[in-house]
Symmetry: C2
Subunit: 363 residues, 2 copies
Amino acid sequence: MEPKDNIEKKIPELRKDPIVGRWVIIATERGKRPSDFGQESNARVGGFCPFCYGNEDKTPPEVLSYRDAGTYPNSPGWWTRVVPNKFPALMIEGELNKQGEGIYDRMNGIGAHEVVIETPDHNANLANLDEKHLQEVIWAYRDRYIDLKRDPRFKYIIIFKNHGRAAGASLEHTHSQIIATPIIPKRAIEEMEGARRYYDYRDRCVFCDIITQEQMLKQRLVDENKEFISFCPFASRFPFETWIMPKKHASSIENLKKSEVVDFSGILKNTLMRIQNTLEDPPYNFIIHCSPCDSPEMPTYHWHMEIMPKLTKVAGFEWGTGFYINPTPPEDAARYLRDTELAPPVISEPEIYIPERSTSMAG
Amino acid sequence: MEPKDNIEKKIPELRKDPIVGRWVIIATERGKRPSDFGQESNARVGGFCPFCYGNEDKTPPEVLSYRDAGTYPNSPGWWTRVVPNKFPALMIEGELNKQGEGIYDRMNGIGAHEVVIETPDHNANLANLDEKHLQEVIWAYRDRYIDLKRDPRFKYIIIFKNHGRAAGASLEHTHSQIIATPIIPKRAIEEMEGARRYYDYRDRCVFCDIITQEQMLKQRLVDENKEFISFCPFASRFPFETWIMPKKHASSIENLKKSEVVDFSGILKNTLMRIQNTLEDPPYNFIIHCSPCDSPEMPTYHWHMEIMPKLTKVAGFEWGTGFYINPTPPEDAARYLRDTELAPPVISEPEIYIPERSTSMAG
């Protein structure tokens, strides 16, 4: 057998499964060998953290920061900072280039991969940020979404967070990620198609109907405020899976108003604290689902956030069928989450954020 | 908020997500509380193993065993034994009962959940069984498949294995599982629809075309014998993902002939040993994908096995998009797997299997 492979290639490649149409990113630059697995994260060296004050030059230059007046980009003084990922899954430079190879389809891995460093405080936790600070994080998500959607190469933008090593976080310092992709991912297509079928049949948005039913039954409700609702979904895949939805129909986060940002961060903080207190700070992922970024506002699709604590292992049955086994009924999960005691509210810090750690450690 | 939940219910429930149509098994009988997570497996007590000789009365009565002449069911003397799962995800007794609840759909959790205890040897490993013994395991899969498909309540039968704790195995003693479901899982529908679209367009089976292309290119080939091929798929989701496919078109394993069983177990053993040697016995899942069990032989669908070593963590991006990031190109993975040295072949044991441990430990 003559290996004729593409090991030299450095640009990640998008490949499409010819059976189900699922796209995969083959990250050739990382090119992991057998001996690279089993070692814990190789992205952190000793106690050094590239996301702390003074280490701004250890990340690619920032694309956005909210910072104290009079401080300079890529130096301390910021309270939320967005930078390109140093080890991106997709590359920002280049033209899209699609190719066939017999029955297979591939595309070069063009896209954006950014990191939202939510706070300079190395020991903070998203749920424990004060509300004003959390609002800034949401504004950063929105601002980056709006900027990235201007790039005509991108079709879909996903904002997500991995909290804890078991949920895939490779750096301890709290952060979220934004990835813009040149294709619409399968999962987004499935959601949009399902929602469109429902709309065709009933002339209503399925997400709006879910909100109505959950508000009426209350048994799966976790929290609610003027603009948002959080609940454990009827067909939860995972124990304590919780979704947050805006009550007002909108298909993406790009048009969030100030009152909505306030209520979204309020319910997000409340929900994450309930999960944290009920389950002793479990690893979790959250994902913001929006419509494709190149589409206009859609009556059929409704943006939302899905929060998935990682408490069980996904095994062969789930992988083979897409059929999940959830050992905790969502009605029980919601009751535990509602009944948990919340820590006393954090006293809101002054309008101008005063960083606790501002000494320069750059060397 | 008045909780009106169904905590008392003991039968698992199937629930359908109203957006994407994904079914979930809500295992109310397990009813895990927050404090139940974080503990490792609760299915094993001390050093006791219900799958070892002498403990046959600690499992539900066997539904199949291949055993020495003159030995009795549910007693030592077997070399491969199939029993109902003591903690089944779905219940075998009852009639199907579908219900709506507003916009939601649910069904009682009727199905079969069986465990294939591949060998009485507690310390054995599927890849290290001698070839004759591994053939018996394949025959057990096929025999159970044929028996379960007679039940008109079942639409789909999945055979899978979780190897290692990180892949979801809760008992150490090597075993596989069989689940029969009253609905066709989403993943199977996607595969069948994708394969049908390809067939409609080209009048050929997509799986047969994949085999042809992999045999021609050779760069992703791992192993091949007269009846089967094993390779790392073009759009591998996971590092070292490997598929095994029969070269002769068939949509399920039910009609496997003796020569095919021999070649399937031969290539399975070879492929698992290559994975084991290259990656130091990694956790893995394998899944046999067949057409729905109530359908006739289909020209569009082709049964196969997908083996997925668990080397990376699935994080927020993958969950949110169904879009995987694979750090090892399949061409590299296949080369590592081909190049690995295989341990010397195990000397085939005599036709009549002589168990190494036959003392009764039942108390």
